[in-house]
């Protein structure tokens, strides 16, 4: 479940890789700017030699890069950014508790990270009631993290009610996914 990348996490992963490569390019490009003023004597060139014979190329395995520790992708994949709720409930379920324990541990390690807890509901309720219910869910997630030692000042809460489902379907499965508390990193990730 946690490894099923939603389009959003896939986009985040791509974003993180792009950011990383940009950072590397920036690092390479900036170094040659400083050149020592001391003239460097040119060393004599070695006489040309025939190209060395190479061994047959070993095949190189490629695969997804490990997320950068402390990145949003790391949080999403290795801690989990969503916990799920039962119909009209806001109690943290046991499966959600283990995700939140992992979130708390991760946030304990990366202390500059700030998060926004977003409470979400399925479509089987009225807009205003679901907004209030989503707020309860976000608060339940927040309270859990605070009880695990995360500074409340690092956490914002909001409810999206039923306005931002992650699954557009109208099935039990879709509703179960859409009843969630989402922990969104807003600052401080690598």
């Amino acid at each position: 479940m946690m490894l099923q990348a939603t389009p959003r996490t896939a986009r985040i992963a791509r974003g993180a890789l792009v950011a990383l490569s940009l950072a590397l390019v920036a690092a390479c490009a900036s170094k040659p700017k400083y050149t020592p003023a001391v003239p460097v004597a040119e060393a004599p060139r070695a006489p040309a030699e025939p190209a060395p014979r190479t061994a047959p190329a070993e095949p190189v395995q490629s695969g997804p890069a490990q997320p950068i520790p402390g990145s949003e992708q790391d949080f999403v994949i290795n801690a989990g950014d969503r916990v799920y709720f039962d119909f009209d409930q806001f109690a943290i379920r046991p499966d959600g508790g283990s995700v939140l324990d992992a979130q708390a541990a991760w946030l304990g390690r990366y202390r500059n990270v700030r998060v926004r807890i977003e409470g979400n509901c399925d479509e089987r309720g009225t807009r205003e009631y679901n907004f209030a219910l989503g707020a309860r869910r976000a608060q339940a997630v927040r309270d859990y993290l605070v009880a695990r030692g995360i500074d409340a000042a690092r956490i914002d809460v909001i409810s999206y009610g039923k306005e931002r489902p992650i699954d557009p379907g109208s099935t039990e499965d879709a509703w179960a996914k859409n009843r969630n508390g989402h922990t969104q990193i807003t600052a401080g990730a690598r």
Partner: protein, 433 residues
């Protein structure tokens, strides 16, 4: 023929005085509270003059959509020359089955304004029922039509009209996972739709003031909730909740337009608050660990009906405007939400969730007399026409888009509202001036 001309002169006299020509009581009426509605057959003779045909078309569409009238095609009548200055040849209209008849015509005045006369006739009684003269700028011809339709509706049903009104709502577009939700306004018949917000946040639950062209609504962004006050006529928008700690939702005007009740959520707990728009001060009305939301004032401004799950499931409660005297209204099984007091004070509309279905219903203000008007896979968000006879709401099929619908308080007239695209959270305006 001379009698006809004489009558026309009398009619013109009465029109000039801008008075109805007969006692208020019509002999023909649409009895809208019978077990079955028999729509009244009414014919609209071709209107002459500037925008005559346009106005006749809009009047007919308004009356037909109300569910209380059936339009009889006037082209079958042998009374071809009927205009606003002559008395109809009643047998010709009886012959095609019309019980009521409308004639009318307009002319541009020297000031460039459109003057329009209309007459309503009792075909069987062979007498005039109503006549009025309207003056408007030519581009306002649709409102002339709605005012004529309102006059006819009032005369023949005994209820105030509701056609010269607007509806604000949320136009929805894009996939459900990334929904664009824009504040939108249209005339009650779907004409003149106009977006009023720019899409930088999602708009939810707009509500019309009952005595001005102002709207309050909730804005939802990635990291904020706000309640805005928006003036339809000036376009001026004002943030009402900038100083309020917590999440804000579910705004609704008091009947005098001077206060806004809304829900404030702090620490996960939602309670009802009241803001005085003149002083911008807030008062907290409920202090309860349950969800308290969706407040709606009684038309006398003394009580607020709201939604609370303090008993374990969402139910309807009523309290005094100072927060005292809370008592539960809804008693049936099921989950009750979004109570809205009717403008006449007689009924409270609500959304009910029961057995996996959603319904729009009404109950008396003491909680008795519950009546379900409409049921489907999903529907919510009732709003009252200013005459208290119709409710607009939105309905959504499974995996479908929301659509605006309307139902009358008898539950027998149920039809899509005249907006063909995706819309939700309708709010009806008061009658325009």
């Amino acid at each position: 023929m001379s009698l006809r001309v004489l009558f026309a002169a009398l009619v013109a006299l009465a029109i000039a005085a801008s008075l109805p020509m007969t006692p208020a009581r019509a002999d023909i009426v649409v009895d809208v509270n019978q077990g079955q509605i028999q729509p009244l057959p009414i014919s609209i003779a071709p209107f002459g003059g500037e925008h005559g045909a346009d106005i006749a078309q809009v009047v007919g569409a308004d009356l037909e959509r109300s569910g209380y009238f059936r339009i009889v095609d006037p082209s079958a009548s042998s009374d071809k020359g009927l205009n606003v200055g002559v008395v109809p040849l009643f047998p010709a209209w009886r012959q095609i089955g019309a019980q009521a008849l409308v004639s009318g015509g307009g002319a541009m005045g020297p000031d460039g304004r459109l003057g329009f006369d209309y007459r309503l006739w009792d075909v069987n009684g062979e007498k005039p029922l109503d006549g009025q003269h309207f003056v408007a700028t030519p581009e306002n011809w649709r409102r002339v039509a709605h005012k004529i339709a309102d006059a006819i509706y009032t005369k023949l049903t005994g209820y105030k009209g509701y056609f010269d009104t607007r509806v604000v709502f949320v136009a929805e577009s894009g996939p459900k996972t990334h929904r664009k939700k824009l504040l939108t306004i249209m005339d009650q018949d779907g004409a003149n739709p106009l977006y009023l917000s720019d899409g930088s946040y999602q708009v939810m639950t707009p509500r019309y003031s009952s005595n001005s062209q102002e709207v309050v609504y909730m804005a939802l962004g990635d990291n904020f909730t706000r309640i805005y006050l928006f003036n339809i006529e000036t376009g001026r928008q004002e943030l009402l909740t900038g100083k309020i700690t917590g999440l804000v939702s579910a705004p609704r005007f008091s009947p005098d337009g001077n206060r806004v009740a809304f829900s404030v959520t702090r620490g996960g707990n939602s309670d009802i608050w009241l803001m005085d728009l003149r002083t911008r001060t807030e008062t907290r009305l409920t202090v309860d660990p349950g969800i308290d939301t969706s407040p709606s004032f009684s038309p006398d401004g003394r009580q607020i009906v709201f939604n609370s799950d303090r008993s374990g499931s969402p139910q309807l409660y009523v309290m005094n405007t100072d927060g005292s005297g809370v008592r539960r209204l809804s008693q049936g099984g099921g989950r009750y939400n979004t109570p809205v007091w009717s403008p006449t004070g007689e009924l409270i509309a609500f959304t009910k969730q029961d057995g996996g279905r959603f319904s729009i219903g009404v109950m008396n203000p003491d909680g008795s007399g519950e009546k379900i008007l409409s049921t489907s896979y999903f529907e919510e968000g009732p709003t009252w026409a200013p005459n208290g006879r119709y409710i607009m709401f939105h309905r959504e099929a499974a995996a479908g888009d929301p659509r605006l619908w309307m139902v009358d308080v008898t539950g027998r007239v149920e039809r899509p509202a005249p907006y063909s695209q995706s819309g939700s959270d309708p709010a009806w305006s008061p009658l325009l001036d």
